[in-house]
C-alpha cells in the first residue's frame, strides 16, 4: 500500500482524510486506484495532476515506480511561463 | 490612393521604391526593399525597435513617412557592419551577452552608434537616458550598458 497526501480542497472526496492508502506500484496504477476508490477525485485527475514522489515532481510519467515507503503527494498539474 | 516614387540612399546604396503617401518609413524598409532588421514593436514611437538614422539623426522609422526619405541618407542595422567585419558595438554586444531574444537589439545598436558618434565618452547615466527610448524586456539593461561602455572605450582608443 502507498500513502498518498491529498491537498485540502480534494478532501471532500476522501471523507476529509489528508492521506489515503491505495495499492499501486506506479503513477498510472495510483491514479486509476484513486479514481476508482474515491470517485470525487476523478474530475481533478482528468483535468490534470502532477505527482511528487520523494520530493521529485512528475508531471506525466505513468510508469514511474512508487515504493510503499515513498512519500507521495498529489499536486495540481504544473504550469509555467 | 496614388503611390509615390521615392529616391533615397540606404546604407550608402542608391535605392528607389514606391510607397503609399501615408506609408511609414518602417513599412517601406521592411516591405518595399526587404530590410527587415528594423522591427515594429509598437508603431507609436514608444519602443525604439524600429530605430534608424535619417541624415544622421536617430529616429523611430515608424513615425517617419516613407516619402520623407526622398533625397535623404538612411542608416539601418544592415549597414552597421563593414562587410564581414562587425562594428565594435556589435562585437561588444556579443562578448557581453547583451542580448537575449534579440528583437530590440537592432534598434539599440543603431541608437548606441548614434550616441557614441555624438558623445564618445558618455557616463553610464547618459547611456541610460539616451537608450531610454529603446525598450528591452529581457535583459534589465545591465549588460547592454556594459557593452556600450566597453565599445565606447574601444572606439576611443582605436
Amino acid at each position: 500500500m502507498v500513502k498518498v497526501a491529498i491537498w485540502g480542497s480534494l478532501r471532500h472526496a476522501t471523507d476529509g482524510a489528508a492521506e489515503v492508502e491505495v495499492e499501486a506500484a506506479n503513477f498510472k496504477q495510483l491514479l486509476d486506484r484513486l479514481s476508482a476508490d474515491y470517485p470525487g477525485l476523478k474530475p481533478q485527475i482528468e483535468r490534470g495532476v502532477s505527482l511528487a514522489v520523494d520530493g521529485k515532481i512528475y508531471r506525466e510519467a505513468w510508469f514511474t515506480p512508487i515504493s510503499p515507503d515513498s512519500e507521495v503527494v498529489l499536486m495540481p498539474y504544473m504550469q509555467g511561463g | 490612393m496614388k503611390t509615390l516614387h521615392v529616391s533615397t540612399r540606404v546604407n550608402g546604396d542608391e535605392t528607389d521604391f514606391v510607397c503609399a503617401p501615408d506609408e511609414t518609413l518602417l513599412d517601406a524598409l521592411r516591405n518595399r526593399i526587404g530590410l527587415t532588421g528594423a522591427k515594429e514593436g509598437c508603431g507609436t514611437g514608444d519602443c525604439g525597435a524600429c530605430s534608424v538614422t535619417l541624415n544622421g539623426r536617430l529616429v523611430c522609422s515608424c513615425l517617419v513617412l516613407a516619402a520623407e526619405a526622398e533625397g535623404a541618407e538612411i542608416g539601418t542595422i544592415e549597414g552597421l557592419a563593414d562587410g564581414d567585419k562587425l562594428h565594435v558595438l556589435q562585437q561588444s554586444f556579443l562578448d557581453h551577452a547583451a542580448l537575449q531574444c534579440g528583437i530590440c537589439t537592432p534598434g539599440i545598436l543603431v541608437a548606441s552608434k548614434a550616441l557614441l558618434e555624438k558623445h564618445p565618452e558618455p557616463t553610464d547615466e547618459e547611456v541610460r537616458y539616451w537608450l531610454a527610448g529603446n525598450l528591452c524586456r529581457c535583459t534589465g539593461y545591465d549588460k547592454i550598458i556594459r557593452a556600450v561602455q566597453d565599445a565606447a572605450q574601444k572606439l576611443r582608443s582605436a
Binding site: 491537498w7 474530475p43 511561463g81 | 554586444f93 528583437i103 530590440c104 537616458y129 529581457c138 545591465d142 547592454i144
Partner: protein, 747 residues
C-alpha cells in the same frame, strides 16, 4: 552508475561564457522573427475586435465587406467547427468569438486582402449587431453572488455554493493546527493586498505566416514558445491531421510565458484555406495589450503569527485571482507557492479563481507566485519592523531546507534558500548606509520548475563536427547552453557543435518552452543523446581495433581502451571515428525522446534600495542585487541575464505596470506610452550572485533559472518603499500618486 547520479567532475565547457551561436544574426538584423517572412502571392490579414467588454453577438453581416476590392477571404467562428474538448473550445473562442464577446478586443471576424488598406476597409464594412451585457472586471466584484456572469456552468465541483457563477476554482493546501499555532504567537498580523494585472510585454507582437493548399496541407511560420503546441491546437481547431500541418518556429522576440498559446495562428490558417493563398497576420501593440494573455489580477489576505524572536508559529493566506474570461488554474500555483520558502508547523492557503470580462490570462514567469509571495513577504517585513528584528535573520530562522515539509506537501530535497540568504547577508549591499528618504527591502522567491517532454537528435558529421537538432524555441540563449552541454559530454570544442531548433516535421514532439525547463530538460536529453552517440563511437573503435565494444570507453573526446587488458591502442578521437563512419557501419547519431522529471525547485533572494521623493511620490531604484540558486550554471552570462531580466520585470510590476479598465470595461492604456515598462534610465545596475546548490535530479546539478527571478521584486520594492516612506502600501503598482496619497495620509 545511475544516469542521474551526480559525478564530481571538472567541467571544461560548462560554466564558461562563449558567444551564443545565434548572436551574429541578431546583431546584424539577419535573424528572422515572426513578422519578417513573406511569401509570393501573400495576403495581409486584419482582425475585427469587440468594442464592448461584454455583449451578445446577434448578427455578423459580412456581405458588404466581401464585395470590396482586394478582399479575398473573411472568417468568423461560423467557419470553424465546435471542438468537443472544452479547453480547445475555449482557445478557439478566444481566437474568434462564438456567441458572446467576453472582453474589450475579443476577436469577432478576420479579413485577408491584397493590401493592408483593403483589409482595413473591409473591417469597417463588416456589420456586427451586439446586444450589450453588464460586465465585471474586478475580481472581488466578480465573486459576489449577483455579479454579471461571464460564462455560466464552468465552476468545478470543488467550489462551494453561495458564490457567483464566475467562481470556477477553489483550492486549499497546507498542514498543521492553525489555531494552536496562532495561540503561540506573540504578534499576529493580518493584512489585505491588491495587485493589478500586468503584461509580459515582449517587444515582438504575435505574428505568423500561414499557407494552406487545396489539398488541405498547411505550413505555418510563427513566433511561439511551442511549435508542437501550435500544431496540435491549430490542427484540432481546423480539423487537420497533425502530420499535414508543418509549424516552423521563427526567432522569438520575447515570450515570458505569453507565447504558450495561440491567438492568431488558427485565424490565419482559416483565412489562407478559404483564400487559397498565403496569409500574414501580425498583431498591433494595441491588440497585444487588449487581447493576448496578461497575468491575473489579485486580491489577497495574509495572516501570520510570530514569536518575539522571529519564529513563525502559523501562517494563512487567501488568494482571490481573476485570470479573465475563461477558467484557469493559476490560483493553485499561487496557493502552493505562497509559503514555500518557510518551514512551518501550521500553514494553510486557499485559492480562488473568478471569471471577469478581461482577456484570458496566460503564463507570465512563475504564474501565480509573484502576487502570492508579494503579500506574504510584505507582512513578514512589517512584523520584522514591529518586533525590531533583522529581516534576513528572521527568514533564516524560518527558511525551508532539505527535509522541510513544504506548505504544498512535498518534502524538499537539496535546496539553496539558506545559502542564498547567507550570501545576501554577506553581500556589501546589505550593510551599505542609507540616506534620507531611502529604504532597503528584501524578499525571498520560489518557483517549482518542471521537466516534461523533449526530443533531441545529435548527429556526428563526417568532418568531426556535431549538429544537435531539438524542438524547443530558444528564448534566452538555450542554443548556447545546449551546444555547451553537447561539447562537454563529447569532449569536443564548443565551436564544433551547432544546435538548431527544428520545425514540427523534422523532429518529434517537444513540450513548450516554459516552466524554466529547456536547459534542464533539453540539456538532459542532449546528455543522453550524446552518451548514446559515444557508445556507438566506442563500438566503432572496438571494431577497428578488433576488441569487444565493452572494452572501450569514452574519455576526453576519444575512444580509449578500458584498462590494460583491453589492449594497447592510442585514443581514437571523435573526428577520426567520424571520418570513417560511413565505412564502419554508417552515420552516427544519438537520440533522446523522453520525459524528464526532477527539475528541482529554485529559490532566490533579492535586495533593493530605493528613494521615495516625498513631494511627488516618485520612487527611484538606487541599487539592486539578485541572489539565486542555479544548481549549476551552464552559461553564467545567460543565467545572470535571466536573473536581471526577471528582476527588471518585477520592478515594473511593483512600481508602474498595470491594466487600467474604465467604468465601461474598456482597457484605457493599451500602449507602451501608458503601460510603462522599465526603461534603461529607470533602473540601476543589477548585481547578481549565482549560488550553486546542485539539483540531485540532474547529472550536472542544473536547476531551471528562468522564472524565480520575477517573484521577489514585488515585495522587495514594496518593503523598501514602505520603510522609506514610513507607511505600508498594500496595493500594486506603487505608482507615484498612490505613494503620495499614502505619505499625505500619514501626515
Amino acid at each position: 552508475m545511475a544516469f542521474d547520479q551526480q559525478q564530481k567532475r571538472d567541467f571544461k565547457v560548462v560554466g564558461t561564457r562563449p558567444v551564443r551561436p545565434d548572436g551574429i544574426d541578431k546583431v546584424t538584423g539577419r535573424a528572422m522573427y515572426g513578422a519578417d517572412l513573406s511569401a509570393p502571392g501573400m495576403l495581409v490579414a486584419r482582425v475585427l475586435r469587440s468594442p464592448h467588454a461584454h455583449a451578445k453577438i446577434v448578427k455578423i453581416d459580412i456581405s458588404k465587406a466581401e464585395g470590396l476590392p482586394g478582399v479575398k477571404a473573411i472568417v468568423t467562428s461560423a467557419d470553424l467547427g465546435r471542438p468537443e474538448d472544452e479547453a480547445l473550445r475555449d482557445t478557439q473562442d478566444n481566437c474568434l468569438a462564438y456567441d458572446k464577446v467576453l472582453y474589450d478586443g475579443h476577436p469577432v471576424a478576420a479579413v485577408a486582402a491584397t493590401t493592408p488598406e483593403a483589409a482595413k476597409a473591409a473591417l469597417a464594412a463588416i456589420e456586427v449587431t451586439y446586444e450589450k451585457l453588464p460586465h465585471v472586471t474586478d475580481v472581488d466584484a466578480a465573486m459576489k453572488a449577483g455579479a454579471p456572469v461571464v460564462l455560466d456552468g464552468r465552476a468545478y465541483e470543488e467550489v462551494p455554493a453561495g458564490w457567483s457563477q464566475n467562481v470556477t476554482n477553489h483550492c486549499e493546501f497546507g498542514h498543521g493546527d492553525l489555531e494552536a499555532g496562532f495561540a503561540k504567537a506573540d504578534l499576529i498580523l493580518e493584512r489585505s493586498f491588491k495587485t493589478e494585472a500586468t503584461h509580459q510585454g515582449y517587444i515582438e507582437p504575435h505574428a505568423c505566416l500561414a499557407s494552406v493548399g487545396p489539398d488541405g496541407r498547411g505550413e505555418l511560420w510563427c513566433c511561439t514558445q511551442g511549435q508542437y503546441m501550435v500544431r496540435e491546437t491549430c490542427a484540432g481547431i481546423l480539423e487537420m491531421d497533425a502530420s499535414q500541418l508543418k509549424v516552423t518556429p521563427s526567432e522569438i522576440g520575447g515570450g515570458f510565458g505569453g507565447k504558450t498559446t495561440v491567438f492568431i495562428e488558427p485565424v490565419a490558417l482559416a483565412l489562407s484555406r478559404k483564400a487559397g493563398r498565403p496569409v500574414k497576420l501580425v498583431m498591433t501593440r494595441d491588440e497585444v495589450f487588449r487581447a493576448s494573455g496578461p497575468t491575473i489580477q489579485s486580491s489577497t489576505d495574509v495572516k501570520i503569527g510570530m514569536t518575539r524572536d522571529g519564529r513563525i508559529t502559523a501562517a494563512e493566506a487567501t488568494l482571490r485571482y481573476s485570470g479573465g474570461c475563461y477558467p484557469n488554474m493559476t490560483c493553485m500555483m499561487g496557493a502552493q507557492a505562497a509559503f514555500a520558502a518557510y518551514d512551518l508547523d501550521a500553514v494553510r492557503t486557499y485559492g480562488w479563481n473568478a471569471l471577469t470580462n478581461r482577456p484570458k490570462e496566460i503564463s507570465y514567469r512563475a504564474p501565480g507566485a509573484p502576487t502570492a509571495i508579494y503579500a506574504v513577504e510584505n507582512v513578514l517585513d512589517e512584523m520584522c519592523q514591529e518586533l525590531g528584528l533583522d529581516p534576513i535573520d528572521v527568514r533564516l530562522t524560518n527558511a525551508a531546507d532539505k527535509g522541510t515539509k513544504s506548505s504544498y506537501g512535498v518534502t524538499f530535497q537539496d535546496i539553496g534558500l539558506k545559502t542564498a540568504l547567507e550570501a545576501a547577508k554577506a553581500h556589501p549591499h546589505y550593510s551599505a548606509p542609507l540616506g534620507p528618504n531611502q529604504g532597503r527591502g528584501l524578499s525571498c522567491g520560489f518557483w517549482f520548475n518542471f521537466g516534461g517532454n523533449s526530443s533531441v537528435t545529435l548527429s556526428v558529421n563526417t568532418d568531426g563536427t556535431v549538429n544537435v537538432t531539438e524542438g524547443n524555441p530558444d528564448i534566452g540563449g538555450s542554443r548556447a547552453s545546449i551546444s555547451m552541454i553537447a561539447a562537454e559530454e563529447l569532449g569536443i570544442p564548443y565551436e564544433h557543435v551547432r544546435t538548431l531548433v527544428a520545425d514540427t516535421a523534422s523532429i518529434g514532439h517537444s513540450d513548450t518552452t516554459d516552466g524554466s525547463r529547456v536547459t534542464f530538460m533539453v540539456g538532459l536529453a542532449t546528455i543522453k543523446a550524446a552518451r548514446e552517440a559515444t557508445q556507438k563511437m566506442c563500438a566503432r573503435a572496438a571494431a577497428i581495433w578488433g576488441i569487444e565494444p565493452d572494452a572501450v570507453e569514452w574519455i576526453d573526446g576519444a575512444a580509449q581502451p578500458a584498462g590494460p587488458n583491453a589492449g594497447k591502442f592510442p585514443p581514437m578521437s571523435l573526428a577520426e571515428i567520424a571520418a570513417t563512419s560511413l565505412k564502419t557501419g554508417g552515420p552516427i547519431a544519438g537520440h533522446c525522446e523522453s520525459t524528464a522529471d526532477g527539475a528541482g525547485v529554485s529559490f532566490g533572494v533579492h535586495l533593493c534600495d530605493i528613494e521615495v521623493d516625498p513631494e511627488t511620490g516618485f520612487t527611484k531604484v538606487l541599487r539592486y542585487t539578485v541572489v539565486q540558486d542555479a544548481g549549476k550554471a551552464i552559461h553564467p552570462d545567460y543565467v545572470e541575464g535571466q536573473m536581471q531580466g526577471g528582476a527588471a520585470q518585477g520592478i515594473g510590476w511593483a512600481l508602474n505596470e498595470e491594466y487600467i479598465y474604465g467604468e465601461d470595461g474598456l482597457l484605457q492604456n493599451p500602449g507602451f506610452l501608458d503601460y510603462r515598462i522599465p526603461v534603461a534610465s529607470d533602473l540601476p545596475p543589477i548585481d547578481t550572485v549565482i549560488v550553486e546548490v546542485p539539483n540531485p535530479g540532474h547529472p550536472y546539478g542544473v536547476r531551471g533559472v528562468g522564472e524565480t527571478s520575477i517573484v521577489p521584486p514585488l515585495a522587495a520594492i514594496a518593503n523598501a518603499v514602505s520603510r522609506a516612506a514610513g507607511v505600508r502600501l498594500h496595493e500594486l503598482p506603487m505608482s507615484p500618486p498612490k505613494i503620495l496619497k499614502a505619505v499625505m495620509a500619514k501626515g
